[in-house]
Symmetry: C2
Subunit: 244 residues, 2 copies
DNA sequence: CGAGGTGTTGAACTTGGTCAAAAGTCGTGG
DNA sequence: CCACGACTTTTGACCAAGTTCAACACCTCG
């Protein structure tokens, strides 16, 4: 078992040697438990920590002038949270727990050590950040041009493909700890239409569900309907420097 | 005047010393002129080059199952193109010129040298990539929750804020070398409604235009209507390693 | 002057939003 | 163990925003 959250996360993709592990271990000072539905930071706060999510679910969101909300990202166990705010001195969004969570903060200022002493890890961090970008681009594509049923289908697929990284059993069933309002805020619908879209997917026999537990009955049909690409499958590490 | 496109771009944000400049210069092999409306690469092509856009406009896009199109990013002179595809072995989208352009390709494989020998530049590349992420997140926020008029207003604002980086005169007038269909594909509308939204903005006295030349008459009103944030203003370089 | 691409305008239509009420779910306390 | 209250989900009726289709106007370039 690896020594810290961050090491565990990164060693999914590359071999982390002892020197690198020492470096990473130094970053991670604490492990913090946060209750469900708690605000971790607000938009405009100074960015001084990134987090590795040990367990639980977080989401980041922002508000619009009319008070409505847009959910930007869901964060799953194993995610590194805060890479998106690296270029800015202040955060660009709110961050909140969906369920009770354990987060491991590490200071932004210490990232320079990774870039100086562990270039291969820096490449990996960069790549991980850009995977988030691709996920966002996929969602935008869906939101810009597709209807309610497809938006929800895409959301379900993205969710399960993300969960399969960490829980290796190729399950097709999972629990969504999110209200339909929140799902709507993520894909640009109201709670009412999320409910209707889920009902439609059920009628087509593509999913089944009881409460918040969903099973994908016809994943191929779901994928085809939204032309789904799995961005989490594999990171191209071929160009990384070999950490001699 | 700096020696290559890439050096010029990066020295906007940090001081590039001679050693780093040598490194960057080695990356950039050629300068290629491309006609208007030419395809530079297709989704699924191998990623082996990134580009610095010297002059002209490009856009990246992808298709949906029904044949409609989603424009993901506009690329302006000075942009580094391809950072979003770094984690993948194949590109995730199409890349096309909007106008005749000059691009400077540099190989993805050589990026490792930057990470090994110039960590400060690697930090900067990372940050630049994440600015793109933030721009995308802003657009998603608008597309998820706002109407046609606001989407177009946001598009205009994002465009001018991006152009002000390179052309330092704080102009409020510019030429859009894009059809309204393309703008629609970027913000999730049809050409018809882009036209109507522009007409609305004009009626309110917020913009004026003749052909594709637009002037922002009331930028404050435009900004307020979409709660606009300028992501290009400044990158937080405080945590970068000092390149001794 | 004519042709093709682009932009504008109008009318019918569709999708998803809004509002409201009913039904289900869950935790708490009696 | 049941009753209550808060929250979430479902369903229905109506409404509004944007799409689609089509015609027409406008540039621009030959």
């Amino acid at each position: 078992m690896s020594r810290t959250c961050l090491i565990e996360k990164l060693s999914h993709h590359v071999d982390v040697n002892d020197i690198q592990a020492d470096l990473l271990e130094g970053l991670e000072r604490e492990r913090r438990t946060v209750a469900a539905d708690a605000l971790i930071h607000s938009a405009g706060d100074r960015v001084d920590s990134l987090y590795v999510l040990r367990s639980g679910w977080l989401y980041s969101y922002s508000y619009l002038p009319d008070g409505s909300r847009q959910v930007l990202h869901l964060h799953y166990p194993g995610d590194i949270i805060g890479l998106a705010d690296i270029p800015f001195a202040q955060t660009t969004h709110y961050l909140r727990t969906a369920s009770e969570s354990v987060i491991c903060p590490f200071p932004k200022r210490s990232l320079d050590e990774v870039f100086v002493h562990a270039p291969a890890l820096a490449c990996l961090l960069f790549s991980i950040g850009m995977v988030d970008h691709a996920v966002l681009a996929d969602r935008m594509r869906i939101m810009g041009r597709m209807g309610a049923r497809e938006r929800v289908a895409h959301f379900l697929l993205e969710m399960i493909s993300r969960m399969r990284i960490t829980s290796d059993d190729g399950t097709d069933e999972y629990e969504i700890p999110l209200t339909q309002s929140l799902i709507g805020d993520a894909v640009g619908l109201t709670n009412v239409y999320v409910s209707r879209a889920l009902a439609q997917l059920h009628q087509r026999g593509w999913i089944s569900r009881q409460q918040r537990r969903v099973r994908l009955l016809d994943e191929d049909a779901l994928r085809a309907s939204v032309d789904f690409s799995d961005r989490h499958f594999k990171i191209d590490t071929s160009w990384f420097p070999t950490s001699a």
